[in-house]
């Protein structure tokens, strides 16, 4: 049966090649959109490793490209943070360079055993874990005893610990931060996704930022955790206090909830646009396919009529047409899957998880099969209704 269908399809190979091509491209489009959406949904439910609620970000406007924060600047920032901590509404406050949901990142790549590994950095002060409610799973977080350390203390998240040191215990390991300049890992926190729900797990490395700016530049964000239930009007009070302590620093206060909103919107936009364009393309292909199949059935009236005259039932003709469509789809999807399967070699797993990749392929396969069969239903029904006598007479 399949062999016979193959022969029929092959005999009309030129007309069918186009249909196969269309189905192939549609598969790629559906795969891309689905994989993106599934990755996003999967990431949405996974833990992010920190708590953004009741946290405000004071972003100071000082030049961050300098390698070293000037002592005066460091003193000013320390004065600001001390002032913030003294306020009764504030639970804790810390300094960060690239806080959660900020669009700035600090990234470095290193080759380990011939494998390129990239790491995200944040330079933070000791209170950061308390402000963001990080969970230490191994070793410890930074504390005042680190002041005496010879090498810069580091904390990794579980992703980085696994990626950089494998199964070995990461605590106590050294990491070359700069040429001949090493840091020492003191602890591991649970998987930390800097851009939150819409980001992929990445290797995160926290470097301890000493209050005296000993390890170079100081971050330009003060993160403030407020007591639950602090009213929004407190913001004006906080701003006024900071302006009076540091009259020559420009800054602005943002609620981390709102930073999260804008991050989510930014990441969602391409998926939504891709989805709209995808739906348009696919509906166009579906209409086109229906048209072509319909036309196919009409031009093959005599062939189909002959089958009916030789005793084939309407249902058999129905199945034949649907089988041909499914066969065309299978050929296109085979090529599609082979092409898509090459993506992991090109490093696709740095932007999507293997499970959403597989789900994307399966989802696209199911969608395409459903769609092609749906498009074939009406034309094949028409074909099955052909009366043998009419069909044979057809000119």
């Amino acid at each position: 049966m399949i062999k016979h269908l193959l022969k029929l399809v092959w005999n009309r190979k030129r007309a069918n090649a186009l249909i196969v091509g269309e189905i192939f491209v549609s598969f790629l489009v559906i795969f891309a959109v689905l994989t993106g959406a599934i990755t996003l949904i999967g990431g949405w439910r996974a833990p992010i490793g920190f708590d953004y609620r009741n946290v405000w970000d004071v972003r100071m406007d000082f030049d961050n490209a300098q390698e070293q924060t000037s002592p005066e600047m460091a003193a000013t920032v320390m004065r600001m943070i001390a002032e913030v901590r003294a306020m009764p509404e504030v639970e804790s406050a810390a300094i960060s360079t690239t806080p959660p949901y900020s669009f700035s990142t600090s990234e470095g790549t290193r080759t380990i055993n011939g494998r390129e590994v990239s790491v995200l950095f944040d330079d933070v002060t000791d209170d950061f874990a308390e402000v963001m409610k990080l969970k230490v799973v191994r070793g410890r977080w930074f504390n005042a005893t680190d002041d005496a350390a010879q090498q810069q203390p580091l904390v990794l998240d579980t992703n980085a610990a696994r990626d950089l040191f494998g199964e070995a215990d990461p605590v106590g390991q050294k990491w070359e931060l700069d040429e001949n300049q090493f840091g020492v890992v003191v602890g591991v926190v649970s998987s930390y996704r800097k851009s939150g729900e819409v980001s992929m797990p990445a290797n995160m490395m926290f470097r301890r930022s000493a209050p005296n700016g000993r390890y170079g530049r100081l971050g330009n964000h003060i993160l403030v955790r407020l007591r639950p239930g602090t009213p929004a009007v407190f913001e004006e009070k906080l701003a006024a206090r900071l302006h009076s302590v540091a009259p020559n620093v420009s800054f602005r206060v943002r609620h981390m909830e709102l930073m999260r909103d804008s991050m989510v919107r930014t990441r969602l936009a391409p998926i939504i646009i891709g989805g709209i364009v995808g739906v348009f393309l696919i509906s166009m292909v579906a209409l086109g396919l229906t048209g072509v199949l319909w036309q196919n059935v009409t031009t093959r009236t005599r062939e189909l009529g002959l089958r009916r005259a030789m005793g084939a039932s309407g249902g058999a003709v129905h199945r034949q047409i649907l089988g041909e469509v499914a066969l065309l789809a299978t050929v296109a999807l085979l090529v599609g899957v082979i092409v898509v399967a090459q993506l992991p070699i090109l490093g696709a797993f740095s932007i999507v998880t293997p499970s959403s990749f597989t789900a994307g392929i399966l989802g696209a396969l199911a969608t395409i099969y459903a769609l092609t069969v749906l498009c074939g239903l009406y034309p094949s029904w028409l074909a099955s209704r052909l009366q043998p006598a009419d069909a044979l007479r057809y000119e």
């Binding site: 000082f62 701003a239 602005r252």
Partner: protein, 413 residues
């Protein structure tokens, strides 16, 4: 003859309404997507109010220093621009200003999120913001570090309601400014012009910026005419060739250039340090994206057209039997197809007007007004015609090769 073709074409289109619908649906929606994308690109890159003089303005927004151990790419600082961009011999006017920074104001117990940019006096001469009230501040105001500000009409309404704003004060970032002018709101896509509050550079809280090579500044340079761009660029190149490095061991190479808005976008997308022609690369990327997008619609149209031809096999057979040349047949079919795409194009054009109006209304980009101008319309029509020719030629060629005997019998082979 032509009218005859037209008549046949209309008859054919009317005969199989479902096919005609599919073709028109595909063509018009494809065109809508392309036209909307083109209108957005045009809105971002073409000189338009208040950057209407930008056909003879170049800007410097990105500066990079590179060395053996990597480099820094950032927005330039005041010192760099003051030393290397200000006073180029071919420049008519030069303005140094900060990038717009998002800022929060507290006004009458309300929180107002806004944007603040600090500029010099020349800024107001290069940009053509039309003042609804008052006027710009001058270079003298800047030199005196006067606490004066220009605000948008939108800010005026948010802060003071429906009353004139000139002379009123506003507190932003711990400083108090007096409003001297009100301008219409500016779209965020205008890189040099966008802000909601403008104040003099010298009102910055600390004068550290004067010593910084990197910072959050940018410069725009106005030439006498577009023809002076190469001269302006080579003058800047010469200055960069004599760049003084503080520490040549860490950094020994600089990369910066005077850019049009499109070149700037290319610089940030392709990479400041890239050793390729960035603008050409970005153009190719955009073209490639458009081509990829039209692949499916084109294939769809071709297969629909092929089906249509098979349907008309007997008509073609008759024409062939009576001696019509292949060329005449191809011409006829391509013309039919172009006619179809132009109809689809017209529908698409109307639909994209609706779509762009909707995008402007829902403020997908605040204060950006998307519209279709003659240039975009011409592009759209060109794309539609190309679309029609490409999707018509292959089926027409297949048709012209049909064997008249088979064709007469209505067969496909």
């Amino acid at each position: 003859m032509l009218t005859n073709y037209l008549k046949v074409a209309l008859k054919v289109l009317g005969r199989r309404k479902f096919f005609t619908f599919i073709s028109l649906f595909g063509i018009s929606l494809t065109l809508v997507v392309l036209m909307v994308a083109a209108a957005i690109l045009d809105n971002v890159f073409a000189p338009r109010q208040p950057e209407s003089r930008f056909d003879r303005v170049l800007g410097l927004y990105v500066f990079g220093m590179y060395g053996p151990n990597g480099g820094i790419t950032s927005s330039p600082g005041y010192k760099f621009l003051d030393r290397y961009v200000r006073g180029l011999p071919s420049a008519e006017k030069t303005s140094l200003f900060t990038s717009q920074s998002p800022i929060v104001m507290y006004h009458d117990g309300r929180k107002v999120e806004t944007h603040l940019r600090r500029t010099d006096g020349a800024y107001w001469q290069i940009l053509d913001l039309q003042f609804l009230e008052g006027g710009p501040f001058t270079e003298q105001d800047n030199q005196n570090a006067s606490f004066v500000a220009v605000i948008t009409d939108d800010m005026r309404r948010k802060l003071y309601g429906d009353v004139p704003a000139v002379g009123k004060t506003l507190d932003v970032d711990g400083q108090r400014f007096r409003v001297v002018g009100v301008v219409p709101p500016v779209s965020i896509t205008r890189l040099a012009a966008f802000s909601e509050i403008w104040a003099p550079v010298r009102t910055l809280k600390s004068s550290d910026y004067e010593r910084q090579m990197f910072g959050n500044f940018a410069a725009i340079v106005q030439a006498r005419s577009r023809a002076d761009f190469p001269k302006l660029r080579s003058e800047f190149e010469q200055r960069m060739a004599h760049f003084v490095f503080d520490d040549p061991k860490t950094y020994n190479r600089v990369e910066a250039g005077l850019d049009t808005p499109f070149e700037l976008a290319a610089r940030s997308m392709v990479g400041n340090d890239a050793k390729v022609d960035r603008a050409t690369t970005l153009r190719l990327i955009i073209l490639l994206a458009a081509l990829l997008f039209v692949t499916l619609p084109t294939m769809n149209l071709i297969s629909i057209n092929l089906s249509r031809i098979m349907e008309r096999a007997s008509e073609i057979g008759v024409r062939k039997a009576f001696g019509a040349s292949s060329r005449a047949l191809i011409g006829q079919f391509v013309m039919e197809n172009v006619l179809l795409t132009i109809v689809g194009g017209a529908i698409g054009f109307v639909l994209s007007l609706v779509a762009l109006d909707a995008l402007t209304r829902i403020e997908i980009i605040p204060y950006a007004i998307f519209e279709v101008n003659l240039r975009i319309f011409a592009y759209g029509m060109l794309i539609a015609a190309l679309f029609g020719i490409i999707s018509g030629v292959y089926p027409a060629w297949r048709m012209s090769r049909m064997n008249p005997v088979n064709a007469l019998r209505g067969g496909a082979a």
